[in-house]
Symmetry: C2
Subunit: 565 residues, 2 copies
């Protein structure tokens, strides 16, 4: 392809709206163009990269025995009501009425419709296992689209679904997908870490995310350097430090004038934060929720939400707190008209200071569960960098990253909702056991750009670069340059090398800047000086010295540099 013919211009100026590197660089290099908030067109260069990623995904899915199909975007709302997800997804799902006023949705994922197809096509245990997948456009009405292709409202996704006869089968399918995902990222040149994750609105008991470490990432994960434990902070367990044992003392009131935070409380009473109990008040499904954690910890809202059976959470407003008979800044679980969810850290200490429900006073020597009871006692605390690993006792370190894949053990949630059953060997009807597996194609490209860019531009992995070679002709208005460059371009095309030929009459600076900005793996330069010596200059985008190659051998030399031809 000649750059003079290519659709999509590079921008000289920094796009003001772009905060992260991939967004900025993809706009500047003419890869994407915004149509609406979180909605982009992929111009030819981006689309070539995305198609390469798709092809890598397709090959790895096929190699894992998955079958490709295509499910529709438009779906009756009814099946989403059957699964209960119309309510769970709420406004995250685009809804549309057709001309006959039938409520439909633009599908954000495809468990519902595929489960109903599997129900119609599986008559026996012999029809299982199945792994089915598609690469298709999804729609989610994200409240806060951001970061170019990182968080968008319309995106291409590979979504796979496994159907097995039992949990052992699911384990095998899950492992097969896990391995396929590892190969996909490796082939795409992306570094990823697999972590335990929360299952969110998809449901199911177990899930893992593939996180591409990058400072611009929205996700935080923790890693144990000793044992390899890795989890999203939303999900991560950690070792809660035990505190020195004490004899329980009698509960008593203590004056704490003006003290409304744990920090102030600890300093006012000159005690460590872990000697206090922190109360955080939420409303879930219209009911007050009293979350109690040890004062040195924070509430993890995802864990809290799961402890409440997936209810939607929001902070309680001051008037709601007051209406529930609680005192802002000194709320007490004793006698509270609220669901009390206690972090299990409350069991690891004694003689705590906590709220008294009386402005200007706290209670001292509170002991759990001696002085108050909880509706649920579980882990609802948020991990932090430096906390202890619950598996091995090592130290957890936190990293930012981009979620580029998420796999779920769904179990029978959807097969039960859709009555997707099969007769087993004993002819008893059993629900199919499901898993699901997603990769966002555009986000994978953005993550690759985040991981490998430098100040001059993108540094695209060879396997997903739109072209392998940027061929630049300097002083292309000179006949000898144009002739030599045209010839080399022809040689490369004949050799099956994907090459972008910068045949524009632009300055050396513009041409080199654009080469660096797009970041194709290899740059070739044809120039008057090189022609005199009958050589071509070759350089890798990743750095290193330029090599001068005899013109006649340039195409073969380039081929030798490429690992994927």
């Amino acid at each position: 392809m000649r750059v003079s013919n290519l659709f999509g211009k590079t921008l000289r100026d920094e796009p003001a709206e772009a905060e992260i590197a991939s967004h900025r660089l993809m706009l500047r290099a003419g890869l994407i163009s915004q149509v609406a908030s979180g909605v982009y067109s992929y111009l030819p260069l981006a689309w070539r990269s995305l198609r390469k990623i798709e092809q890598i995904i397709r090959e790895e899915m096929d190699a894992a025995g998955a079958q490709e199909l295509r499910l529709p975007v438009l779906q009756p709302l009814e099946i989403w009501e059957t699964s209960g997800r119309s309510e769970v997804l709420g406004r995250d799902m685009f809804r549309v009425q057709d001309r006959r006023e039938r409520p439909m949705v633009m599908a954000p994922t495809h468990e519902e419709v595929l489960t109903s197809h599997v129900k119609a096509n599986v008559n026996s245990y012999r029809d299982l296992p199945l792994i089915l997948y598609q690469i298709q456009t999804k729609f989610r009405d994200e409240p806060r689209p951001r970061g170019g292709l990182i968080r968008v409202r319309e995106f291409d996704m590979k979504d796979a679904y496994s159907f097995d006869a039992d949990d052992e089968g699911l384990d095998q399918s899950y492992q097969a997908m896990m391995r396929a995902y590892g190969r996909i990222y490796e082939r795409c040149g992306l570094s990823t870490i697999m972590v335990e994750a929360d299952s969110g609105a998809i449901g199911g008991k177990h899930s893992h995310e593939f996180i591409a470490p990058a400072s611009a990432g929205e996700d935080t994960i923790v890693l144990c350097d000793s044992c390899g434990y890795a989890a999203n902070v939303e999900r991560a367990a950690f070792a809660k430090t035990a505190t020195p044992p004490e004899e329980p003392l009698p509960l008593e009131e203590v004056a704490t004038p003006g003290v409304k935070t744990i920090e102030r409380l600890a300093s006012y009473l000159d005690i460590p934060a872990w000697k206090t109990i922190k109360a955080v008040l939420y409303v879930a499904d219209g009911k007050m929720v009293f979350a109690a954690v040890r004062g040195d910890l924070e509430v993890n809202e995802v864990k809290l939400k799961n402890a409440l059976g997936g209810a939607q959470l929001r902070f309680a407003a001051p008037q709601e707190v007051a209406a529930a008979g609680l005192t802002v800044g000194s709320a007490s679980p004793i006698g509270a008209d609220a669901a009390i969810i206690a972090d299990d850290s409350l069991r690891l200490g004694s003689n705590f200071v906590m709220g008294s429900n009386k402005d200007g006073f706290h209670l001292r020597n509170a002991n759990f569960p001696r002085d108050f009871d909880a509706d649920v006692v579980t882990d609802i605390a948020l991990v932090q960098d430096g906390y202890g690993c619950r598996v091995c006792g090592g130290v957890l370190s936190a990293r930012r990253g981009i979620e580029v894949g998420h796999i779920f053990k769904l179990g029978t949630r959807y097969s039960e909702a859709f009555d997707c059953t099969f007769p087993d060997h004993a002819d008893a009807l059993r629900p199919v056991v499901m898993g699901c597996y997603g990769i966002g194609v555009g986000r994978l490209l953005a993550a690759a750009v985040e991981q490998t860019n430098d100040e001059a531009g993108m540094v695209l992995p060879e396997s997903i670069a739109p072209y392998k070679v940027w061929l630049t002709a300097l002083n292309v208005e000179r006949e000898d340059v144009a002739g030599a460059a045209d010839a080399l371009y022809g040689d490369l095309v004949d050799a099956g090398v994907e090459v972008l030929y910068d045949d524009r009459e632009e300055s050396v600076g513009v041409k080199f800047n654009d080469a660096d900005l797009l970041g194709l793996p290899i740059r070739l330069v044809v120039s008057p000086r090189n022609i005199k010596r009958d050589v071509v200059e070759a350089r890798r985008r990743t750095g290193g010295e330029a090599t001068l190659v005899p013109s006649g051998e340039a195409a073969e030399y380039v081929r030798s540099l490429l690992s994927v031809r």
Copy 2:
């Protein structure tokens, strides 16, 4: 792929809802599954075929110099208001409000958004010409989805758009796309006829459709066997017969008690229908429209709509006719409070009988334009089988067919709406001249099935069949059969032949029926009898004798039968 693992079961029973062959066969063969009216899932076999069609389209587009990109489904309604198409498309376009109440659409086509991208990326005549295309899912809220994949609400389409500096450039782009379309259909094994067509809601002055002749088609075209003129009936011109010249006689009233149709009028007065004027009354944009054609002709509503500048038409209700001072069954254009659109056939006769606006009476010796005037005089008549060709005087014959492609010369309609201009050689700003070019991928597959099925099932063209070979093992429970069939399957896979291996323990009848139903180009049979003779039976789905091939040579023999390997 082993049939025992394949997702998608064949149905024994005829699907009650399917009226046409492709719909019935694709449901029965497990290719598609309906999710909502006009919304289908493509199961693995259909999806393989569709991907092959996509790839053929992609290769021909690329060979024609077109660049692939991807435009979004979700688009702000605003750009559709800028082009005026929000109103034109009305309820045919799915509309959706996002969570911030912004009105958006699910795009049925992409002129608007792409023109705005081209505006941003074309700064000079040197940036032209451009042909850009995508293969993408489109949404149209069809009032009457029908025929399986023939008329659906969600469909994959290849849509290409050309951008040229002038009309000559557009001619070249249009010709290039026309040639590419011809090659695409040929490679897909589809027989098509290119016809002149109406431009409809897309707009533009010239358009051609590619029609796949098939009795189940929704379109009717006329063809001249002499000169090759071919057009959709919506658009077709024809030679209107001149009638014997007569001296104009004075207008006079004639009693026609109870006569309200042309047929009754002609027989009552014992005159040919071409001696009468037919009035058909419509309402367009709230205004009465009086369409007048010679009595032997019918009104072509598409032509009439175009004569009215694209207004939406509907028949006038009796009370509306009366309110306009017109008499149902004897409406007269004389003094009518209506837009009068006259077919040019009125100029080809004299002394017509027409309505008098008086119940029970008509007017005799009406002459146009002596006795009444018309707001527009043009061709608004509908062609019929056997009419004369306007080009050469030959005879037009009508055929049914499926529209599998439509190409349009758009001109500057969209570039002017979006101010998509470029400085020409003289630095004067000129609007880009556009064309657009569409192929429905699923409809192409359905049309291929319509053209080549027989009573036993589909007869898929080799290039788009999901697999090339159906390998059947009879009595597969026998170890020698399973061994021989497995070995042949392995040979075929090693030879790069796409083969579907029917390894099921089913009866011979079921297995042969399914082979015929899916209609892969070649069927191979491994059976106890064949094994004894160390041969494999090979037969083409299109018919002819079975050939017995030595087992060891079967894979090579199959390869020799295939034209696309």
